[in-house]
Amino acid sequence: MVEEAQIHEQAQLAAQEPLARVSGKPLVDLPKDLYIPPDALAVFLEAFEGPLDLLLYLIRRQNMNILEIDVSEITRQYMDYIGAVEAMRFELAAEYLVMAATLAEIKSRMLLPRQESDDEDEVDPRAELIRRLQQYERFKKAAEDIDTLPRMERDAFGASAALPKLPSSQPHPDVEMRELLLALQGVLRRADLFTSHHVEREKLSTRERMSHILSVLQADRFVSFESLFSIEEGRLGVVVTFLATLELVKEQLIEIVQAEVLGAIHVRARAVT
């Protein structure tokens, strides 16, 4: 197991090694020995993200620039690996096998003399492979870069402070007058009150005045009738107050008392115990 761990680490190291090179010389010398103990292979292969990744690794172990792939050697090594992959991780095998086939194709082409005039349009499998490797490598690097970005919960933590007592501010809903009317209309229709003259008869100003008078009257005390009226309101106001008073009497909400004939009239709310 120690061995496996070591190899795993080694593989990761190699996998993470940037492809940076100074004037063609690798910055890191990797061992050329590709021998991996068979029982460590499964662990080793865990380190790879697929055939492109494996191929990149092999190329690096060869100390090669991507553009200088030694196809035959890489192919041989690759075949060794996929033999193991096939045995261990069958579900991955297909992808690795396709790559092996691609490598084999490239190798076979290289062994044949090239005919200059042949199929100009044909995609050169080497160029295609290189393109894919390059592309993959860019994003492999990008993934590593993203991993090093300062990240919440690892490098930075949200700063928060406890709250003081906050004003309880449940904002009030807005109501449109038409909503109110619509609601009223609905309830009246349900109650079938359109025929009821009760609802319709009094002017709203009268009902409003009824509320006003009621709120002025203290149940435990008589108030003089005259004090309900206010001269400034003019004739109309007096009429409204008078109608309101009559309605209140009729609904038995107030009582009117006159102690003696032609004496002062007093009013009080009826809800006296």
């Binding site: 619509l182 009902r207 009621l214 709310a269």
Partner: protein, 221 residues
């Protein structure tokens, strides 16, 4: 123990308290540090005092509470901070609007009378909401068994709906005329639809309600 070292301890302490977002005890604070660099209790107390001072004039303060030390937003900023947590205003229920309308048109009116007309119970919540909003108030008690409260609308109610007096409310006869329009609109959305008797006889749902909805959506989080 030089000043630079102390400021560093202060910054680490502040960082930890802000990351925790809850009180940390003296022990918890000291255990942030490896044994070999762990400040003595007295040093830590000094550092906390420094931190308390460093928070003067800022948005937060250091508070000692039962379970330790905690950084807390200063109470004086509660009015502003509170807006962050304002809930989106709910819409009033149909039942509430009906109750309010009856209180306006039939005041003074008791809960029982409203229930008689609506044919269903009026929940205490509705009454409480209307009272809290100060749109209605109790103007007396009807002289019947139980002495139920009589409700009437208030000046605030008139102000809210831009009325000089109740008689500026449309008379019931007009409300009845709206029925035809109302019925079809009502089928669409209960209580959320606007209609202008004059402008939109076809019952075209008016846009301004939508506008208002989106306005009231503008709350935080």
């Amino acid at each position: 123990m030089n000043d630079e070292h102390l400021s560093r301890l202060q910054a680490i302490t502040e960082a930890a308290l802000l990351a925790a977002g809850k009180p940390l005890s003296m022990d918890q604070l000291r255990e942030l540090f490896n044994e070999d660099e762990r400040p003595a209790r007295q040093v830590m107390e000094h550092v906390l005092m420094m931190l308390e001072k460093a928070c003067e004039g800022r948005g937060f303060e250091l508070r000692k509470v039962a379970s330790g030390y905690r950084l807390q937003v200063r109470a004086e900023f509660a009015p502003w901070v509170g807006r962050l947590f304002e809930e989106k205003p709910q819409r009033y229920s149909r039942a509430l609007l009906e109750t309010l309308a009856l209180m306006a048109y039939r005041q003074p009116i008791t809960r029982g009378e409203i229930e008689d007309i609506r044919g269903v119970t009026v929940s205490s919540n509705i009454i409480r909401t209307l009272l809290e909003r100060e749109w209605v108030r109790v103007v007396g008690h009807r002289d019947v068994p139980g002495r139920p409260a009589m409700y009437a609308t208030t000046r605030q109610f008139l102000d809210y709906f831009n009325l000089a007096g109740l008689d500026e409310l449309p008379p019931l006869s007009e409300v009845r005329d709206l029925e035809a329009i109302g019925r079809e609109i009502e089928q669409n959305i209960q209580g959320e639809i606007s209609f202008e008797p004059a402008a939109a006889p076809e019952g075209e749902p008016a846009n301004d309600t939508d506008q208002q909805d989106s306005d009231s959506d503008r709350t935080f989080h």
